[in-house]
């Protein structure tokens, strides 16, 4: 077990390591698929992984995992030592995946806090049979080798067991610092009452001065230097505060969470002062003065001012917030390949998010400074200021790029998962399909990766299930090449394009059109007007599925509409290309990052709206005579012979006090996918980098508004979502 993860709890460590092991196991398995056999490295790797998992799960007392891992280890031990020829590879591969699935399933149970109680007897029996089979075929010539597996015990370490605590919340460590008003009687007893109040919730508690009961002189020490408690508990700081406050005479209490190391250090030091014969005074001269507790040891400052008190409360609140975040922190970490670990550190994603938020705030604060109205005094010489401002802007933009780069992760892991899905699905459907992966090193923001995985899985399953024909069918229609799926990723102008292509039967335009007509999706458009793209897009509408039969792998109620919804959540789009009989390509076009975008700001009736700058194709003043009004009231503007549908934001949102004449305001042409619309606003305010924030959940979703952001002057602006606005 690696020592570089010392801060992880035992259980987290086990889960993390086992998950990593299983991931490698699957990858090794998939790697070997084409070769049809394991080479020596593979065998050693799998043996090592199973050995580690067996050992770790035995320590954790997960007997079922340990037994299963042991069995697979035995199989590979035999393969490693006896090097049998012509072992049935596909069968073994299936067992490996079954083992991996079983253990993963058990890990899920452990993560949820329940006992891993799965029974793998059948699988173990299968592995046993398999082992016997390959032992048999390896020839009885080497009889001594046959008893090899049980005989490899000597290398085993002495058994260790880890008894996990009964499921409870993670405990936290706190350092507590209490001061008493100088006129308090028997402060030592009061302090002990506080300790006692805490005992009910304490898993461990230590305090200093520690002789408050035996030594009456300690009262004065407590008064002068305060009273310190180290506490380990599953409760929150609030509960601790409440408990301490049940005792009287307290002037001020600080509760700070600390790490277990600090806690231990404090304990050690408190105990060092615990030797017989030491008086409270000595204790003080010794260890307590050291900053074991993260509060400044305050000298006997008589009653703290109110302000100071507030500060400590605020600090406490921050702490709690942090704690809250920690709790939410996902246990997953970026898995790092062994060979690369030296140059990588793993950082909690929560910290990265925090850094990202802070940089976002910094960008805003910067524009608050640079656009400060105080600077607009006429005649002010700002040349030096401007120079400094340019430098500041440059650095903060580099900082942004750096954090973005840090959050980037290659799509490799996600793609590897797809490998397994193709393998499983094609096997069960009896189709012969190969997967080619291109551009797996393409990097995408971590948050986006999480959103990509599900839709991608769905697209892949669709391709395997519906896209590629069965082997017989392919024979019949004379398609000789193997069924093939290409999973490709590339960067394309601030976006990542991830595509899934297959050489299957493609989409049937007529069939889709037929169904769309039946479901009334065409509206008043004629069939001929529709481009192929538009027709194919019908399949992404809710409830649309041309497949009559529901199969196990796709079309289980969740269709393409869910895929599209997922992609749209991260601001992406799905494009479908297809040629009947030849295959289809589904391309997800997704922005590289979400957090900070360039925004164009315009105002309507005093309210500021923002739109992503790259969605703005132009802004233009328009005269009344360029306005075309349809009989049904729909408005269009003609600009250089092109007709754009017009949305007047003031009317759309029923806002008064805004400009009505087109020539008084400004028209902004916005792109959404292939469509362009004209939006009428009062005036253009400017351009700024904006940090996207969600609209507080208290407010119901407003059509066309996807979030909000803070502007340079501290005011809030609403982010316009064009797609939503035009009701795509």
């Amino acid at each position: 077990m690696a020592d570089d993860m010392i801060t992880e709890g035992m259980l987290d460590m086990f889960i993390f390591e086992t998950e990593q092991g299983l991931e490698t196991l699957e990858n090794v398995g998939l790697d070997s698929r084409d070769a049809g056999e394991f080479d020596d490295d593979h065998v050693n790797e799998i043996f090592r992984i199973m050995h580690t998992i067996k050992g770790a799960s035995a320590v954790m007392m997960y007997q079922n995992i340990a037994t299963l891992a042991h069995k697979l280890e035995d199989v590979f031990y035999f393969i490693r030592e006896s090097k049998p020829e012509n072992i049935p590879h596909a069968e073994l591969l299936d067992y490996i995946f079954e083992v991996s699935d079983f253990i993963n399933g058990e890990l899920e149970k452990i993560k949820e806090g329940s006992d891993p109680d799965g029974v793998a007897d059948e699988l173990i029996a299968n592995l046993d049979t398999y082992l016997k089979k390959i032992q048999g075929s390896a020839g009885g010539g080497s009889a001594k080798k046959e008893e090899a597996p049980p005989a490899h015990a000597p290398e085993e370490d002495k058994p260790h067991f880890y008894i996990a605590p009964v499921a409870s919340e993670d405990s936290h460590f706190y350092s507590i610092y209490i001061t008493y008003s100088p006129d308090t009687d028997m402060a030592n007893i009061k302090a002990y009452i506080a300790v006692n109040a805490l005992k009910g919730i304490a898993e461990d508690i230590l305090f200093t001065p520690s002789d408050i009961i035996s030594n009456p002189d300690s009262a004065s020490v407590v008064l002068e230097f305060g009273f310190k408690i180290a506490l380990q508990t599953t409760e929150t700081a609030d509960v601790i505060m409440d408990l301490i406050n049940t005792s009287s005479g307290i002037d001020q209490v600080e509760v700070n969470e600390c790490t277990s190391d600090e806690f231990l250090k404090f304990c050690a030091e408190a105990e060092a002062g615990n030797h017989p014969g030491s008086s409270a005074g000595e204790v003080l001269l010794g260890p307590i003065e050291q900053p074991t507790v993260r509060t400044d040891a305050k000298p006997k400052e008589i009653p703290l001012t109110e302000e100071e008190e507030k500060v400590s409360v605020a600090r406490k609140a921050e702490k709690e917030e942090e704690q809250e975040k920690k709790k939410l922190a996902p246990k997953k970490k970026k898995p790092a390949k062994k060979a690369e670990t030296q140059s990588f550190i793993s950082v909690n994603i929560q910290k990265m998010d925090l850094l990202m938020d802070l940089i976002g705030e910094l960008v805003i604060a910067q524009s608050v400074v640079l656009q400060n109205p105080d600077l607009k005094v006429p005649g002010l010489d700002l040349s030096n200021f401007q120079k400094a401002a340019v430098q500041l802007t440059k650095i903060s933009s580099e900082l942004q790029d750096a954090i973005m780069a840090m959050r980037m992760m290659p799509l490799k892991n996600t793609f590897q998962k797809m490998n397994r899905i193709v393998y499983d699905t094609s096997k069960k459907l009896g189709k012969d399909i190969e997967l080619e992966v291109i551009g797996e090193d393409t990097e995408v923001d971590k948050n986006i990766i999480e959103h990509v995985s599900d839709p991608l899985m769905h697209l892949i399953r669709n391709s395997v299930d519906h896209g590629i024909e069965s082997n017989e069918k392919r024979q019949e229609i004379g398609k000789h090449e193997k069924g093939k799926i290409v999973l490709a990723a590339k960067n394309e102008g601030g976006q990542v394009w991830i595509s899934v292509s297959d050489n299957g039967k493609g989409l049937k335009r007529d069939e889709i059109l037929e169904k769309a007509k039946k479901n009334g999706l065409l509206g008043n458009r004629s069939e001929r007007d529709l481009t192929d793209k538009e027709v194919f897009n019908f399949i992404t509408l809710p409830g649309f599925s041309t497949k009559k039969q529901v199969t196990e792998y796709s079309g289980r109620g969740v269709g393409m509409d869910v895929v599209v919804k997922n992609i749209q959540e991260v601001g992406g789009v799905l494009e479908i290309e297809s040629e009947e009989g030849k295959g289809s390509t589904m391309t997800m076009k997704i922005p590289l990052t979400l957090a900070i975008i360039d925004g164009m700001i315009f105002s309507v009736a005093g309210t500021n709206f923002v739109s992503a700058t790259n969605a703005v194709s132009e802004f233009i003043r328009v005269d009344e005579d360029q306005l075309v009004i349809e009989p049904d009231g729909e408005e269009y503007v003609m600009i250089r012979e092109i007709c754009y549908p017009l949305v007047r934001l003031n009317r759309f949102y029923h806002m008064s006090n805004s400009k009505e004449n087109l020539s008084d305001g400004i028209v902004i042409i916005l792109n959404h996918e292939d469509r362009k619309i004209a939006v009428f606003a009062d005036e253009l305010v400017g351009e700024q980098e904006i940090v996207v924030k969600p609209i507080p959940s208290y407010i119901k979703k407003v059509k066309g508004i996807s979030g909000c952001t803070q502007l340079g002057d501290g005011s809030i602006s609403l982010i316009l979502d064009i797609g939503d606005l035009i009701g795509k």
Partner: protein, 130 residues
């Protein structure tokens, strides 16, 4: 089975005593120093303890030190592996590093607090103590 319990917290000690008394005689101690002394006394009297449960955060001698001291004594007296006491750490410190440190020092099991009695008994069974 003779059990030695070292635990500075009264409530935890009481709990361990109650829990383990059903398997034989249990002697409580309140810190690491006393635990080592008691262990030595057991050896001297030729009534060695079969099981030693050590808390980690204890005054005077912490659990690690006590564990090491006991193992050192056994080394020094050339007590064979199978005659040595089985030592189980009982503590709320559950970080991997703490656990590994204890394993390295020679404890056989590491039980996180609050203690899971069923699992604890399971381990005792595996160690053939009960």
């Amino acid at each position: 089975m003779r059990t030695l319990i070292a635990e500075d917290d009264f409530a935890s000690r009481k709990f361990m005593l109650k829990f383990l008394s059903k398997y034989g005689e249990c002697d409580p101690t309140v810190d690491g120093m006393e635990a080592v002394d008691a262990y030595l006394m057991g050896l001297e009297a030729d009534m060695p303890y079969d099981l030693v449960c050590l808390d980690i955060m204890m005054p005077k001698l912490d659990g690690y030190q006590a564990l090491k001291a006991i193992r050192d004594i056994e080394d020094e007296r050339n007590i064979p592996e199978n005659k040595r006491a089985k030592i189980i750490m009982t503590t709320a410190l559950n970080e991997g590093a703490n656990v590994n440190r204890a394993f390295d020092l020679g404890c056989v099991a590491y039980a996180g607090k609050p203690i899971d009695q069923a699992k604890f008994e399971n381990v005792l069974r595996k160690l053939e103590l009960i």
